[in-house]
């Protein structure tokens, strides 16, 4: 996985820096990198990405900030903070957001470096329905930590 990410980074490294502009990147899609998020059931997604590796309970380690109730499923702000070192010897190399009931359960993954200074990420995500949302942190030595919380999704319209 890491090698494919490096290939993408190298390709982007030759881009000219333009503030706010749009560039067309011609040429073939990044070779062989399997898309992170796929239309698949949760179990298949976890198996594919984590291969059945054990996950430790992230309580106390992971701070998952997400509303208990999402006013709509289109825009749900989430942020994750992992209380773990970010040194070259030991750092949090990835944080995943997983939404169990989404058609594409693996929502996003951020890959970090010691230069990040803190294992922190935020994004706004889509939730198809009321679901558990998981934050999974992977340390540089491969240790996995997971924390989940149920997010209820309010359907729109008067009365529901």
């Amino acid at each position: 996985m890491a090698d494919h990410a490096m290939t993408r980074r190298a390709a982007l490294g030759v881009l000219t820096v333009l503030a706010g502009g749009a560039l067309t990147l011609g040429g073939p899609a990044p070779a062989a990198a399997q898309a992170l998020g796929q239309n698949e059931p949760l179990d298949a997604a976890l198996k594919r990405v984590f291969g059945g590796r054990p996950m430790k309970d992230g309580t106390g380690m992971i701070k998952l900030d997400i509303p208990l109730i999402a006013e709509n499923g289109a825009v749900v702000p989430v942020s994750v903070e992992v209380n773990a070192p970010m040194t070259p010897q030991s750092y949090v190399k990835s944080i995943y957001i997983v939404a169990d009931k989404n058609r594409i359960p693996i929502v996003t993954r951020v890959t970090l470096t010691p230069a990040s200074g803190q294992a922190y990420m935020g994004a706004n995500i889509r939730l198809g329905e009321t679901t558990d949302v998981r934050a999974i942190a992977e340390q540089s030595d491969g240790t996995l930590w997971a924390l989940k919380r149920e997010v209820k999704v309010t359907v729109g319209g008067c009365g529901g």
Binding site: E71, P77, V155, C158, G159
Partner: protein, 432 residues
Amino acid sequence: MRRPAMRWLGLLVLAAGCATAGADRPDYAAVPKWTTRAIPQARGDVRIQPDGRHVAVRYPGWTTRDYSGFRTYAYDDTRPEPPVQKVTMPPGVTGDPRRGRALFLERAKGPCTGCHLVPGDDVWPAGSVGPDLSALADRKLPDAYLYQQLWDPRVTFPQTVMPPWGAQGAFTPEEIVHLVAYLQTLHGPVAPEKDRERNPFTRSKPVGFGDNLDPTNNPAVVRAESAEAAWSRTGPAGKSCADCHAGGAAKSLRGVAARYPRHVPAYNRVMAIEDYLTVHGPETTGHPLPMEGAENLDLTMLVKMASDGLPVAIDTTSAPARAALARGKATFYRRVGERNHACADCHTPDHGANKFLGGRLLGDATAGLTRHFPTWRTSQNDAWDMRKRFQWCMTPLGTNMLAADAIEYAELELYLTQFDNGKPLSVPGIRH
């Protein structure tokens, strides 16, 4: 408009809005006719197809159902509220509690759970506008009483906000029999609540969407910033906004939006910024700027942002303002539509405000709900002005919407804006 009918209407709406003492009596005689300058989807038109079907012309994705059988907000709609109906249960129908429960939860109908909590893990999200019915059957109310309550609750509770479901044809007599059968199964004791969020009486309040003025949080801010380009765009008359309003919107128009909506003597009507642009564009730069068009919305945001941080300061004392406020207040308390609801039913503390309607916490109009419009709506991925928000509310109520720039809406907006006087504008907002 015929004077005697208007006086009758005036008396009727005065009676309806009697809650506040000292209100001026609404006078509709002076209100001019207004030809809409809105985009086609925002005019409130109803088209008659060749096969005779009525199809409402509305925004993409909105229902096209025609509700012309029910009262609207139009000042010349003099139809009375639906008469109160006293009824008895139909013979020969056996109530099926399972069908009744399905009807109770059905979103296309009420849903009844919009206002009432009942047991069940699948009940999400129930509201707290009406009483918790989880142990209703313990009260041993007769079937006939419950039937009448659902058909037309005004017989027992004349001031109720609950719609007269049967009288308005929202449910058939058979369906109401099934609902009664279901309600009669709801015996206590109610199982302890496993999930405090399921129960609207213990549910957490929404946390909102953060800083509405932060461009890394609110897409509407990014959109409004792009509208600066429109400021300098030359129109068909050979001029741009910038030609008269030098220095950009933020400088040249600071303070202006704080005084809107207001009565504009040149047009003898109340106008918000959006309404004003529909006439101001054509008479200056030549840009048409129709109501609910993207340009109108973007420029409105720009003009209002120029007054961000300044207190809302609309005129509420001049004679035209007082007259318009009286009409706007009457509109706020006017019952309309299939649901026979008034704005006040949901948006005043005596009734629904600060309670849950389904999953939505209802805002209190008397606390001021206008100073963040136009607002980004995350569920729509678009910015909406207040008129579109009014129009949206109309379709679930089962009433035909009026044109976005209708005087009725402008005066209702004026009435609502007075509750924000003294509070700082903060446009654009960000909401669900």
